[in-house]
């Protein structure tokens, strides 16, 4: 049953998302792609869309993954989306209810904070690993499997230059506030349209 599978997978993901929605990215990347629910490229595109649509990142990405997965398995997309969203929300719902009723003092304990700080360090490593995999795949067309390099080395210099341009831009502060994620997506989308479109127009190989 694709629906139950979605519910259970996203329940696990929701349960282990510690420290905000972005901590979910490594889990989503591995689970959704490994189960064949979505292709790597489509998922990467959708991470950008989730970051730039209103609403919590976690909900957006769960809804879309559920939709695509259910459609891919021949089911009804919206039901799949509901299952995935419910799955990602349920752990929070249960845990927070317990905390409100019973454990308010427990959460203030030093020991709990220490454990979560430790998980924060792990998530840093996980995100770095996801980033490096993505970088290798997008820019050089290669990935790592069974301790070996897989795929042919096809460098995409245009994307690399684009990355080198957008990264510094994203550190600009607007009126003392951080550069919003949606602007990062918009800037890179427009630059991509411009650069790749021009190359295509003048017949450069891209």
């Amino acid at each position: 049953m694709i629906y139950l599978d979605l519910l259970w997978t996203f329940f696990k993901i929701g349960l282990f998302t510690i420290g905000g929605g972005q901590a979910m990215i490594p889990m989503i990347m591995t689970n959704v792609v490994n189960k064949g629910w979505m292709e790597y490229d489509a998922l990467v595109d959708f991470i950008a869309i989730s970051e730039s649509t209103p609403g919590p990142f976690a909900i957006n990405i769960a809804t879309y993954s559920g939709m695509v997965a259910a459609q891919g398995a021949g089911g009804i997309g919206v039901i799949g989306a509901m299952c995935a969203t419910l799955g990602v929300v349920l752990p929070s719902l249960i845990i927070i209810m317990l905390i409100v009723k019973i454990f308010t003092e427990f959460m203030k304990k030093r020991a709990v904070k220490e454990v979560f700080l430790g998980v924060g360090s792990t998530v840093t490593g996980l995100l770095a690993s996801v980033w490096l995999s993505l970088f290798l795949t997008l820019i050089f067309g290669i990935s790592i499997a069974n301790y070996q390099v897989v795929g042919t080395f096809t460098p995409d210099w245009l994307s690399l230059i684009l990355f080198a341009v957008v990264l510094p831009i994203s550190f600009i502060k607007i009126k003392g506030k951080k550069f919003p994620p949606i602007l990062i997506v918009v800037v890179s989308a427009l630059l991509g349209l411009l650069v790749f479109g021009l190359c295509d127009h003048f017949g450069f190989a891209i």
Partner: protein, 203 residues
């Protein structure tokens, strides 16, 4: 998102005070699950019990759910267009930037100890090279940290007991401790400060 919640809940509806809301944020950040959902559930549950929690969560989930379902149909329509393809090649680079920034912000919040770096590097190697399931890596971290924290607190209590023995205090200030004074480590720390200042005064 959090600023929006503050405006609505504190300033408009007066459901919580600023201090209470800050406490809710602190708990929402350090519980599993997306922070926005945790905050909504917490505020709802505090006001109205289980039912309130469910309703508040539904409220925060439904708009994004509807938007994404609509969006997914649009994506299906346009995904084979050549220009949309160029747009998305740009957007993928944007994701690279977004995740790079996420790594940086997690790194900033990380405690800079050898143990933290060891956890970080181990997690990186396990997932990047060995391809262990991410969930097991996080679960392993929780177990490991819990064991270490439990061991630390045992060690601390043990040490505390030794410092707190009446003999120890007889040596320092010449009078035995009251029973309540060596219950918490705060009390001991305060006592030690007092002793130090007394020593300084006498010198």
């Amino acid at each position: 998102m959090l600023a929006l919640i503050e405006g609505e809940v504190v300033d408009k509806k007066h459901w919580l005070t600023h201090a209470e809301l800050n406490e809710v944020f602190a708990i929402a950040e350090s519980t599993p699950g997306p922070i926005a959902i945790n905050t909504a559930t917490f505020i709802g549950a505090k006001r109205l019990g289980i039912f309130g929690g469910i309703v508040a969560t539904l409220g925060v989930v439904v708009p994004s759910f509807a938007i994404i379902v609509a969006l997914s149909y649009i994506i299906d329509l346009v995904k084979d267009n050549k220009w949309v393809g160029f747009l998305f090649r740009g957007i993928r680079v944007g994701v690279l930037v977004l995740i790079a920034k996420a790594v940086l912000s997690f790194f900033k919040n990380m405690r800079k100890t050898i143990f933290s770096f060891a956890l970080c590097i181990t997690a990186f190697i396990l997932v990047f090279l060995v391809k262990v399931d991410v969930i097991y890596v996080i679960l392993g971290t929780i177990v490991l940290c819990s064991i270490i924290v439990a061991w630390q607190s045992y060690y601390r209590n043990h040490r505390l007991h030794m410092i707190g023995t009446p003999e120890y205090y007889n040596e320092r200030v010449g009078k035995p401790l009251e029973e309540e004074e060596y219950v918490s480590d705060k009390a001991i720390e305060n006592k030690l400060v007092v002793i130090k200042t007394k020593e300084e005064e006498s010198v």
